[in-house]
Amino acid sequence: MTDISVKVEHLSKQYLIGVRQPSYHTLSDALVERLRRLVSMRGFFSHSQETFWALKDVSFEIKPGEVVGIIGRNGAGKSTLLKILSRITEPTEGRALLHGRVSSLLEVGTGFHPELTGRDNVYLSGSLLGMKKAEIDAKFDEIVAFAEIEKFIDTPVKRYSNGMFVRLAFAVAAHLEPEILILDEVLAVGDSRFQKKCLNKMEDVGKHGRTILFVSHSMPAVARICKRVILLEDGVVRMDGPAHQVIATYMGSDVGSSAVREWSDPTTAPQGEIVRLRAVRVRTEEGRVTDAIDIRQPFGIDMEYEVKEGGHVLQPFFRFTNEENVCLFCPPDLDPSWRGRPRPAGRYITTVWLPGNLFAEGRIFVDVALCVLHGVIVQFHERNVVSFQVLDTLDGDSARGDWAGEMEGVLRPLLKWTTTFTQAGEHPTLVVTKGSNV
């Protein structure tokens, strides 16, 4: 047995741009172009077009059972890579070796024909995705049940609602049993309850030693599903490593680091008569500035400010909102060493420490405010100064446990759970965690 599932060696893909491919859509255009070249002595059959490398010298190896995310901006080469690995397009140079049966899902409902019934389409789509008829026969009832469309299985697909269509298409795909599964941004469809179901089903696949390659723009999804992430940039591998690190790098490079905001010019900084804001940072306990936060790890947010006039009692605040603009909480500074004490002029850094397993995954936006306590004079209140992304994991030690799907709620605390068991007919006894004499 091999210990490598996917091996990519110096893979490159060149596309022609400019004259030839886009404009040559009719024969007469082609003839005119050839003639023009002939007249201009540039050679009748010359192929001197502008070229563009969508992928350049990409190499990596994936072990069986690894779930690898591929991220990068639009045009970074993600889709080209998946298309080559799916054998839809050929590489210009280099090669890839795939050990085992491969299924790729680059679109939901590929090959579905609107005029045909759900039943017909299950067979058609299944066979396009690489299933044998006998396999589809065996799984047919399971697929239909999974899609929850038993009643409509003999109705033409064009009469399906969008949701039904997507569910059926996904149900077929979810029942593939390849050794290598290639997924391109396909989880972004369907209602969230069904997405959960699919994610769980795909996770099942992952746990059976199957290799998954997953492209997505949804960082929470990538962080949740993948342990390893490859970051592509302009067709080359910029980074390849543990999911959280790579995502952090990507997001740092992507949003111009939303994790830090500094005002170098004191005149434009937010300020009142007494206090001037200088900087806000999201950072790990080790002091590394990042906007990708592992849901399990505690982290801090610094507010750096300058007290221009001493002798006042100051009250810094933070305010946290999520993507839906829901205020999660708005904590005031409780540091006992400065609570109720007038502060001398000078530079301060006030840090609020946030425990792990507090926020739900997603992007969190931070407001900062500071007021003089007596008389309540607001010195500054800056909205959305910094933001950070909370990334959950499937390691099993976060609050999501072994659940792979979407989770509701704005908080995700790690709670203590207990279960008591008693034989039928007996009265269960309550678990007591305090004051018990056991």
């Binding site: 091999t2 054998r87 839809i88 280099g94 890839a96 045909l116 008829k133 050794e179």
Partner: protein
């Protein structure tokens, strides 16, 4: 859990430089997909039509009526001493099979551009499936022909057993041309417009409405390079009796198809490497 086929050699993905290479094993592995695509073509074609499969009868029947009026009653073309409707219908059987197949499979790759861009399979399956989808229409039209023979009181002879061979020959010819057209159509959409024109011209260059005997002897060799000449004469011979096609015509027609098919496969294979980038 070891992957079931870990012992198999890995799939190697690299730039194919050899255009002559046709992976027959792979085609065989994808035979079920071929079947499903052909089946879908047949099924989807008549979905939401009132007359459904009846169209498979109406089309050749309408052509038959028109041909009988125009070429027999009006132009008084000879028909080897056979009733003209039978004479023409025997030719329309393979001709319609060819014409309908060309019409569909010439566009097959472009029509399935969505599949080509999203799923891997040997691309040659597309023109093959579209070609095969015409067989069901042929079977229906053939049944009608048998009724027509009964009407004229002509009994089929043992020569009918040649029909399956001739059908294969027709499909081969159709595929040979479709391979060229469907691949060219990816780059040059002009092909789609040229197909009806091509089939029109081809029909008059084939002995559909007139007997082969009408072609001057000195042109026969050139004429027989058209595979449909041999096929149509073969159909008339197998169904209605009369002179057996001469060996020269048969050999020329067969070699023309063979050569066209082989080079068609090479050409298609070569072009298919860039289908997903261009289509």
């Amino acid at each position: 859990m070891a992957p079931a086929n870990a012992v198999l050699s890995p799939t190697v993905i690299e730039s194919r430089r050899n255009s002559f290479y046709l992976n027959v094993q792979e085609l065989w592995d994808f035979r079920e997909l071929l079947y499903f695509l052909a089946w879908r073509d047949m099924k989807a074609r008549y979905a939401q039509t009132v007359l459904g499969v009846a169209w498979a009868i109406i089309q050749p029947l309408a052509a038959l009526v028109i041909f009988t009026i125009v070429f027999s009653l009006w132009a008084k073309l000879p028909s080897d001493g056979l009733p003209y409707p039978l004479f023409a219908y025997a030719a329309l059987l393979p001709w319609t099979l060819l014409a309908r197949s060309l019409e569909r499979s010439g566009q097959s790759v472009v029509a399935e551009s969505n599949l080509v861009k999203k799923v891997y399979f040997p691309r040659v399956i597309l023109p093959i499936a579209s070609t095969l989808a015409g067989v069901i229409d042929f079977v229906i039209a053939f049944a009608l022909f048998l009724l027509l023979m009964a009407w004229y009181g002509i009994a089929p002879t043992w020569k009918v057993i040649a029909i399956p061979m001739l059908v294969l020959f027709t499909l081969g010819t159709s595929l040979a041309v479709s391979l060229w057209l469907s691949a060219l159509n990816v780059h040059y959409r002009d092909v789609a417009g040229a197909i009806p024109l091509l089939t029109q011209l081809w029909m008059y260059a084939s002995p559909v409405v007139y007997p082969l005997a009408l072609v001057p002897e000195q042109w026969r060799t050139v004429y027989s390079l058209n595979p449909m000449a041999g096929i149509i004469e073969g159909f008339r011979w197998a169904l209605l009796g009369g002179a057996a096609p001469d060996t020269r015509t048969a050999m020329l027609s067969a070699s023309a198809t063979g050569i066209l098919l082989i080079f068609g496969l090479i050409f298609f294979n070569r072009m298919s490497r860039t289908f997903s980038d261009v289509v």
